[in-house]
C-alpha cells in the first residue's frame, strides 16, 4: 500500500479579485502579469520600478489628476477605463498642453470579475494609444466587499504647454464668441438611463472621447484666437459657462435655439425634468474665442468628427458680470445657474 499524501497547494487561478491580489505577493504579481502588463506594457512600465523616470521637453509643464467612480462601470458608449484616460487627457489639453504621460491608480473591490478588469484595462490601453499618451506608472489596491463600488480609478497626467499659448478661465473679454463643439448631455443621460430604476430604455451613447487631437490642431492653426477652453463635464455646459463668467468677471449670453441636443437626450431630459445644459459631457469642448476669428476656429473644428456639430452658442457681454443668461426662443431671458447638486427627477 502506498500513501501519496497530496500537499494542498494554494489556488492561483482566480476568476475574481481576491484580497490577496492587493497584498503585494505572488497573486499581486500574477495580476500584474496576466491583466495589466499585456495591455499597458511600454519601456517605462516594463522596468517595474516604483517610479517612472521621465525626460520632459523644454517649456512649462501641466500636471492634473482626477478620480473616476462612475456607476455603472460599463455604460453605452464606453467604460470607466477609457473615461479615466480620456478625462485626464482632456484636462491637460484644455490648458493648451500636449498630453504625454499618465499614471493610473486602481482601487478594486474584492469579487470583481477578472474578465471585467481586463476589458477595462484593455480599453485604457486603446484610449491611451489613440490619444498618443503613455501609461508610465501605476498602483493597485484591493478593498473588501462593499468598501468600494467594483472599481475606482485615479489617473494623473503630465504634458508640456505649447509655446505662446496662454489659456485661462480668467481671459474672457466682452465681445468674445462662445463656441460649443457638439451636442450636450450625451454622457450624463447615457449613464442615467443605464442605471437601474428607470423603466425606459434608450439608445443614448456616452460621448466619451479624447479631445487633444482636435484641440492641438485648433491651437496650431489659430493660436492667438483662443482665450479659454474647458471640457464641460460634471454640471454640464451650464456649470462651465458659470465658472468662466465668474472667473473673468464678465457676463455670458447664450441663445437657446443654437444649443445642439440629440433627440434621445432631449426626450430623456423632458421625461425626467432635467435641463440638458446641466448634464455631464465627456467629449465636448467650450471655447471663448476672439469674435473675428470664430468662423475660422469653427472651420477647423468641423474637419474633426468630434467637432462636426460645432456652433457659436453666444458671446461674452459687459452686462451681468459673473452670470450666464439665455435668450429663449421666445425672446425672453432667463438665468442659467449652476446646478444645485444631484439631479433629482421631478414628481409629476
Amino acid at each position: 500500500m502506498t500513501i501519496a499524501p497530496l500537499c494542498p497547494t494554494p489556488i492561483m487561478q482566480h476568476e475574481t479579485i481576491q484580497m490577496a491580489h492587493g497584498a503585494g505577493g505572488r497573486l499581486s504579481q500574477a495580476l500584474m502579469q496576466r491583466v495589466f502588463m499585456p495591455h499597458l506594457h511600454n519601456s517605462f512600465l516594463d522596468l517595474l520600478d516604483d517610479q517612472a523616470k521621465l525626460d520632459l521637453p523644454p517649456g512649462r509643464t501641466a500636471f492634473t489628476t482626477d478620480t473616476y467612480v462612475v456607476s455603472p462601470i460599463f455604460f453605452p458608449g464606453g467604460n470607466i477605463g477609457e473615461l479615466a484616460v480620456n478625462g485626464t487627457v482632456n484636462d491637460l489639453a484644455v490648458g493648451g498642453a500636449r498630453a504625454l504621460y499618465l499614471s493610473a491608480g486602481f482601487v478594486l473591490e474584492e469579487g470583481l470579475p477578472l474578465v471585467e478588469l481586463e476589458v477595462i484595462v484593455r480599453s485604457m490601453a486603446k484610449a491611451a494609444c489613440h490619444a498618443g499618451v503613455m501609461m508610465v506608472t501605476g498602483d493597485t489596491k484591493v478593498v473588501g466587499k462593499g468598501q468600494c463600488d467594483r472599481i475606482f480609478i485615479n489617473t494623473s497626467g503630465i504634458g508640456t504647454i505649447r509655446e505662446g499659448v496662454n489659456l485661462s478661465c480668467r481671459n474672457l473679454k466682452p465681445g468674445d464668441s462662445i463656441i460649443l463643439s457638439g451636442t450636450v448631455g450625451d454622457h450624463g443621460m447615457a449613464i442615467m438611463t443605464s442605471r437601474g430604476g428607470l423603466s425606459f430604455q434608450s439608445r443614448i451613447q456616452s460621448d466619451c472621447a479624447a479631445l487633444n487631437g482636435m484641440i492641438g490642431t485648433i491651437l496650431d492653426e489659430q493660436p492667438s484666437a483662443i482665450h479659454a477652453m474647458r471640457d464641460p463635464t460634471r454640471g454640464g455646459v451650464a456649470a462651465t459657462l458659470n465658472e468662466l463668467a465668474q472667473s473673468s468677471s464678465v457676463g455670458i449670453e447664450i441663445h437657446e435655439a443654437t444649443i445642439p441636443v440629440k433627440p434621445d437626450v432631449r426626450g430623456a431630459c423632458e421625461l425626467l425634468g432635467i435641463d440638458p445644459l446641466h448634464v455631464a459631457n465627456e467629449g465636448k469642448l467650450v471655447l471663448a474665442v476672439t469674435a473675428g476669428d470664430a468662423e475660422k476656429v469653427l472651420d477647423v473644428m468641423r474637419t474633426f468628427d468630434l467637432g462636426r456639430d460645432a456652433v457659436i452658442i453666444g458671446s461674452v457681454v459687459d452686462d451681468h458680470p459673473g452670470m450666464v443668461v439665455m435668450r429663449t426662443v421666445y425672446g425672453s431671458r432667463r438665468i442659467i445657474d449652476l446646478p444645485l447638486g444631484e439631479q433629482l427627477p421631478r414628481i409629476c
Partner: protein, 367 residues
C-alpha cells in the same frame, strides 16, 4: 442642429407663441390677475419667460400646486424619523429628498447610514419590498390627484399579493378644496384660474364647474408647454373680458370632462377624503386623502408610531402667502437673502416646482 420632437415642438413653436401673445394683448382691455394652479406650469412660465412677454395688464400669480411645497413639515419629520430606522428602506420621488425638516433632510439621513432610495414610481417601491422581504419598505406617497392613482395602485397591489413589509406615508392633497380656500380668503386677488392639466387628466373638469359658479371665476384646464399656457391664458382673458364664469377646456389632447374613471375608481378603492394640513397654509378641511380603514395596515404612520411628531416652521418663511398667490416670491424679504436653494427656509425654495425656486433659478436679476 435641433431635431424636431413630435408632441413637444408643436407646443413650443415661437411663431405660434407670438401670435397668441398678440391676441392676448388685443383682448386684454382690463387688468386681470390669473393664477396657474400647478407648480409645473409655474416653472414652464418662468423658465420660458412667458411672464416677461405678457402685457402689463395680465398678472400671473402662482398657485399651491407643488406637492413638495405643501407637504407639511410634520410629514417631513415623520419621514425623517422612519427613514433613519435600521430595518427600513425608505423610498421617495427624488424631489422630496432635499426638503428640509427642522434640522436635516433625507439626503442627510442617507449619508448617516439610512437606506433612502429614489424611485420613479410607487410600483418600483413595491418591487423593492418583494425583493427585500426582511426589510420594511416605506414609500412617501405625496402629491395631488396626479400621483394618487399610482400610489393607490401600489397599496392595492400589496394587499392583493399579501406583501406585508410595504407601507406608505401618505400626504395626498386635492386641488378643488385648495381653490375654494384661496377664493374664500378675504385677501384673495385671483380672478381666473389655469387649472392643472395633469390633475384634470385624472379627475376631469366637471368638479370645477360648481367652483366656477359659486365664486364666479373662469377656470381653464391648461397644459404645460408655452403655446398651451398662452392658449390657456388667452381663453381665461376672453372669459374674464366677457364676464363668463365658466370652465373651458384648453387641454383637449389630454383632458376630458369626466377624466379617467379607472384611475378615479382606484383612488376611491384605497383612499377616502380626509382633512389635511398644507405646509405654510394650514388645515384645509376635506382637502386630502387618507387610507381607508380596510387598508390601514399599510399606513406607515401607524406601523412606526410617528403620529405624535410635530414641527415648527421658520417665522421668516412666507411660503403660505406665496402659495395662495398673495405674495410674489421676490416680494418676500428673505428671498435670495436668508432663503436660497442652498439654505431654504421653506419648501417653495427647494422643489423643482416651487415658485420661489423658479424665481431664484431663472429670474433673479433678469427682470
Amino acid at each position: 442642429m435641433r431635431t424636431p420632437m413630435r408632441y413637444i415642438d408643436e407646443y413650443r413653436d415661437p411663431a405660434l407663441a407670438r401670435k397668441l401673445l398678440d391676441e392676448i394683448r388685443r383682448k386684454a382691455l382690463h387688468h386681470w390677475t390669473i393664477m396657474e394652479i400647478c407648480g409645473g406650469q409655474t416653472h414652464s412660465i418662468i423658465r420660458n419667460g412667458i411672464d416677461q412677454l405678457l402685457p402689463d395688464t395680465i398678472e400671473l400669480v402662482h398657485g399651491p400646486g407643488c406637492p413638495v411645497c405643501v407637504t407639511p413639515l410634520e410629514s417631513i419629520e415623520r419621514a425623517l424619523a422612519i427613514a433613519a430606522r435600521e430595518e427600513v428602506i425608505f423610498t421617495s420621488f427624488g424631489d422630496m429628498l432635499r426638503v428640509p425638516g427642522n434640522a436635516r433632510d433625507l439626503f442627510m439621513v442617507r449619508s448617516a447610514g439610512g437606506d433612502v432610495r429614489i424611485v420613479f414610481s410607487p410600483l418600483d417601491a413595491l418591487q423593492i419590498a418583494r425583493d427585500n422581504p426582511s426589510k420594511e419598505v416605506v414609500f412617501f406617497a405625496v402629491g395631488f390627484e396626479t400621483t394618487a392613482p399610482a400610489n393607490a395602485m401600489a397599496v392595492w397591489q400589496a394587499a392583493r399579493e399579501g406583501i406585508n413589509n410595504f407601507t406608505v406615508l401618505v400626504s395626498q392633497v386635492m386641488v378643488p378644496p385648495a381653490m375654494r380656500a384661496i377664493l374664500s380668503s378675504p385677501d384673495n386677488r385671483v380672478q381666473g384660474f389655469l387649472a392643472a392639466g395633469h390633475v384634470c387628466a385624472v379627475m376631469g373638469y366637471e368638479e370645477y364647474e360648481p367652483v366656477a359658479r359659486e365664486f364666479q371665476v373662469p377656470i381653464v384646464p391648461t397644459g404645460f408647454e408655452p403655446v398651451e399656457l398662452l392658449a390657456g391664458i388667452l381663453k381665461t382673458v376672453e372669459l374674464l373680458e366677457e364676464g363668463k364664469a365658466e370652465v373651458v377646456n384648453c387641454y383637449g389632447r389630454v383632458v376630458s370632462r369626466a377624466g379617467n374613471p379607472v384611475a378615479q375608481e382606484t383612488i376611491r378603492n384605497v383612499f377616502e377624503v380626509s382633512d389635511r394640513q398644507w405646509r405654510g397654509i394650514g388645515l384645509i378641511p376635506g382637502s386630502g386623502l387618507g387610507l381607508r380603514e380596510s387598508y390601514a395596515r399599510f399606513d406607515a404612520e401607524k406601523r412606526f408610531n410617528v403620529t405624535n411628531i410635530s414641527a415648527e416652521e421658520s417665522p421668516l418663511c412666507m411660503s403660505g402667502r406665496v402659495l395662495q398667490g398673495m405674495l410674489k416670491p421676490d416680494g418676500c424679504p428673505a428671498f435670495a437673502k436668508e432663503c436660497t436653494p442652498q439654505h431654504p427656509l421653506g419648501a417653495t425654495m427647494v422643489s423643482s416646482e416651487g415658485a420661489c425656486a423658479a424665481y431664484y433659478n431663472y429670474h433673479r436679476t433678469v427682470s
